[in-house]
Subunit: 210 residues, 4 copies
């Protein structure tokens, strides 16, 4: 009994998941606050002003999907993690801190979609989330510390490779942003689609292919 | 074990529902940020300025109820869906992305309640949510993919017809907005009431009428 | 099976509670957005400007506690309600719609704490929440429609009287606001305390007095 | 049956935790709204303006971690608390009210990071949260009122000492702010790290040291 508090045994996985779901839900919904109705005087001017909102709408969609991807990634990890400890808990809180930062970096990219420094901050934020998620996984699986002892090593490495896709693409986008802002922007838009569409990899791991 | 991660079996229905509840709760509550206390200098001017907020209050109520309707619709579907797969998961995230957009389209309608382009954007947003919810249902029920094999085909078609009411009404409202902005606005206000009040249809399907 | 969808049996109490908890959490937290750091040029001017925020801080505290009171009230009802139907569901959504409006009426009262029309809007909002909560209870308990058939009638009436305290006090505050704005404001501040402190009534109903 | 409502037996621990998780999630995510994209005319000016956001980013990180710490603290307490009563419920709501205030005090510190009055308000807010958490624990454990009768008194005192670290450090920071604003700021940044890194104390209480 006396040991329950100092170690975070009291924080079951479900509590961390509840806070994570809440923070993801708020961060994803706050993104829309960056898109504001244009101020126009005449009805005839409104359609053009609405069309001019496309960079903000695009940033909104990309960030929403990327947050969705990281949310899926965190929960997939928790599905394989058996228990939490203090270190895992704090890796999670740092992960959520980086996640909550996305509404800012998205607003920055929306305001300056083709400026390298804005693209770099946005990319750096997404890379940071991905690397912390990787750290989370490597901490949990190191010597099977917090996962099932039976968990297959190939599975552990498969997850690592899959997490690395994001940071790799965004690093490329950050580097590209110094040379071609348009190419960098295209990469940001394409990146989430790679995760969203089920690929060959999914077929391979699917329990009952049909 | 090794198959649990690549396919989203780890994301049980309850996790998707938790994120959905969170996003709906935030989107519904953010609507109020669009209604701001008027800036007046004299106490005598405040009542008139408050009354002038009625279009924003009306938009607030309509959007809140419509989001409530779609929230009920999504959960009713999940009640009949037995399991999730990666595609269903991503249809859900796109559904939530469209849902989270409502605070913007509501703010736009509030600002320009009688301008066709604002009415069209608002209508298009609500139509999109409805159609994605329909896609969600058709994907899940196609060849009883993710629902109970025993689920009655009449039930499946009944749900389809019920979901279609919204997009049909909003398409009419969008078309009307070019001809009569007032008529279009009336339709937006009436639409949620059709779902809210229990109708003959409910009587028919109610387990124990009394 | 075929009846599960048209009637909201699919929406178990827990789903409604999850949405309610989310909306209350967001509405209570959004209240703080109404308190903004003052813009001052010199450090020496900041303390005075901070003290000038007291009406906003007071509104914040009163609204936060009142929302807490209504949250407790709704959950106490759900503890006694055995099942939900479509009407109860929609009474709940209207209840949440009125609840979500509190950040606006609070911001209005903060901006004009001593103006009758602001006080009336604030009072009307709190009265509306209380009356909808009463409607919720009366609908659920009418002929023991949705509660345990064994539930004591004295208990049902006790809950009604307890809910009515709020609307009664706020009606008095609204009436007072035309005569003495200060008296009205005092009543708004005192009202939540009546619910918060355990009173004789609690002693009477407490399972094991000690 | 008739006693369930007047006493908050209906509010199980899980309901309080759900509201708490929601409020913490929203408060933590709202912190980012204080960091806004700078308005610049030329791409070359953006990097410098972004670097100038560091005090806001630092405040964001410190507040996020401190809220994380208090969230962990509250849940650790609930892990040891067996049941709730009306008083505990309201201590919780006051705790959440103080927690929800952090986005304001953080915005204030971000705006005036080196001004004593801003530092004092920030410190006072964090001290208040800590002391209410302490009150929560002392109320629950007084004569083992709401905890397991078997709970070790050393454990109860250990939790008290651990909670007191925060208020003690922040009191020191508030006092320091009158003498050296920089030293005070450093203390605010260092404080969360003391909680985050596992220390000797953790080793001592860890169930199975390895």
């Amino acid at each position: 009994m006396s040991t329950e508090l100092a170690s975070p045994q009291g924080l079951t996985k479900s509590r961390i998941e509840a806070l994570s779901d809440g923070i993801f839900a708020v961060a994803m919904t706050l993104l829309v606050l960056d898109i504001k109705p244009p101020a126009v005087m005449q009805a005839v001017a409104l359609p053009r002003e609405l069309l001019a909102l496309w960079p903000r709408c695009l940033s909104y969609a990309v960030s929403f999907l990327m947050l969705g991807i990281y949310w899926v990634g965190q929960h997939n990890q928790f599905h394989l993690i058996r228990r939490a400890d203090r270190t895992l808990l704090w890796i999670n809180i740092v992960f959520l801190m980086t996640t909550s930062f996305v509404p800012f970096s998205t607003a920055l990219l929306s305001a300056y979609p083709l400026w390298p420094s804005a693209q770099m901050v946005y990319g750096a934020n997404l890379i940071a989330i991905g690397l912390i998620l990787l750290w989370h996984w490597m901490y949990a699986t190191h010597r099977h510390r917090l996962v099932d002892p039976e968990l297959d090593d190939r599975m552990i490495r498969f997850v690592i490779r899959r997490i690395l896709i994001g940071p790799a693409l965004f690093t490329l986008a950050v580097v590209l942003s110094s040379f071609s802002a348009v190419a960098s922007l295209v990469l940001y838009v394409v990146a989430p689609l790679i995760y969203v569409f089920p690929g060959k990899v999914d077929e391979h791991w699917r329990p009952n292919a049909h």
